[in-house]
Symmetry: C2
Subunit: 343 residues, 2 copies
Amino acid sequence: MAETKRTEISELGEFGLIDHLTKDLKPQNASTLYGVGDDCAVLDYSGNDKEVLVTTDMLMEGVHFDLTYVPLKHLGYKSAMVNISDIYAMNGTPRQMTVSVALSKRFSVEDMEDFYAGVVLACQRHNVDLVGGDTTSSLTGLAISITCIGEAEKGKAVYRNGAGQNDLICVSGNLGAAYMGLQLLEREKAVFNSTPHSKDEPFSPDFAGKEYLLERQLKPEARGDIIKQLREAGIQPTAVTSRLHICKQSNTGCSVYQERIPIDYQTAVMAEELNMDVYTCALNGGEDYELLFTVPLTDHDKIIQLKDVKLIGHMTKPELGRHLVTKSGQEVELKAQGWTSNL
Amino acid sequence: MAETKRTEISELGEFGLIDHLTKDLKPQNASTLYGVGDDCAVLDYSGNDKEVLVTTDMLMEGVHFDLTYVPLKHLGYKSAMVNISDIYAMNGTPRQMTVSVALSKRFSVEDMEDFYAGVVLACQRHNVDLVGGDTTSSLTGLAISITCIGEAEKGKAVYRNGAGQNDLICVSGNLGAAYMGLQLLEREKAVFNSTPHSKDEPFSPDFAGKEYLLERQLKPEARGDIIKQLREAGIQPTAVTSRLHICKQSNTGCSVYQERIPIDYQTAVMAEELNMDVYTCALNGGEDYELLFTVPLTDHDKIIQLKDVKLIGHMTKPELGRHLVTKSGQEVELKAQGWTSNL
């Protein structure tokens, strides 16, 4: 087996490393005037019909990711995607990104190349320019901070709190798969740690038939396609988020129908294997980066035409509370934590 | 002595903590449409004559700051100021900021109140709105990531690489004081660690006569006043930075006159005590957050009228190289690292 090349970051220095990682990037957006290389990036959002959206996330090793089983390229991809998803969750279009990393001595230039390759791939897929960031040292582990900047048509940015009574609640894709992917990775890590293995007899994790769960956990996709469909269909959502808080912020009640919650087959199988309630996982697991949104009741006929969008319930008067209507017709209160998902 | 109150962050939760820390903030800038509380902040930069500036910095405990001697309020103030300074270093006006922190269990809600009090104070001084961020967990220590957003008149953003031959090199304030402040704090920390002390006989560090150095290290001020003066005097700088790279990026040479480099009296005394060359400290120490900038030769008569600005040299043809002209008239090469300052 060939040795992997390892170049120490100190060989390039901080500025050398940034130059090295960003030298081939070409801005794709007219709003990017100047990217990496000065005290600031310079952007042009002076068109009269746009608002600027800004979102930021911080990811810490050992808290938000485990490098035992997350390849650095996937980590870069996901870190970028999480922020891109937050721009879509305002009904916006992502345009620029800054990426800051703090890293300990165990990381090499090649590691950072892998991480940036993932970031750049996510950016390219969503037409986002990498315009800046910071690269610095850490005493322990890897810390990542990403800021994404996007735009929305003036007055068309959609907040979490805009949902009205009787609005329809929709969700894209399916829920709970990313959480089940994490459970799977944690299970195999535990097996790895308790099983003898060597160079000659390497450990092979058992992921057969569960590839989709891994993909959802390691390589989530921000749902720009859903925002595009909504625009093309002339539907202005009343509230959007990729993290489930709409009811809490909109001061409405809601009814969500259990049988309408989209669950993938692999998610259901894995939940059964682990003896977990799949609906609890779907509503509380987080990390799916699907869009949860509400639309006026009058858009019902349009919304049911959309690809990969499912109607799961409707908003109600606040005094009716927030309920999950089970398959047997029981109403179960949706607890606040049931509507908070975290990366 | 009264016990200091300690509230665990888990009592509030992540969203509760952010609400608690930001609930009293009122946006001051017309460009801030929506701040903390949704997936993104929403800004309006649609005026036809503005460009948007974005800068970001990451600060790690044990690398960029030492909580043994840096109070959290000062840390918040400085972290914000560093980013504000980068906006001025593009000839811009800072407007919005996002602040992300990752913190280990040893930090309490009260600690975060102190940190945010510093951030908010810096923001208020420079009329910046705190519009978002992220608060999350860390396994070890404190990590801070700040992004500052500002604006410049269209075409008036100033880069590091705009300096022409014969331009005058100017610097605000004085140099080396922040570095000497750091040396002083490190010296007293070493004394503290090697001296017996108790509750009854507490350690008192020896800072007498060196208060200015401490202030420069712990509470730097971004030089918005210099940018304002330049505007009022009708001077358009050709290059600006708060981190010394102008010559390298502008592809010019330069001559800097040692006797013109502004050094405070306390800086000089401290350098002598430590047997260090004060000019090396001034040029390499960093963290002063003074502005280094160039102006056309034709602005000479205007520039010498400005308060707290000193002319220290001039740009030359690239083939002449980069030199420090010593008091005795010798030309010493300015090495690349001599023009890189870091926080």
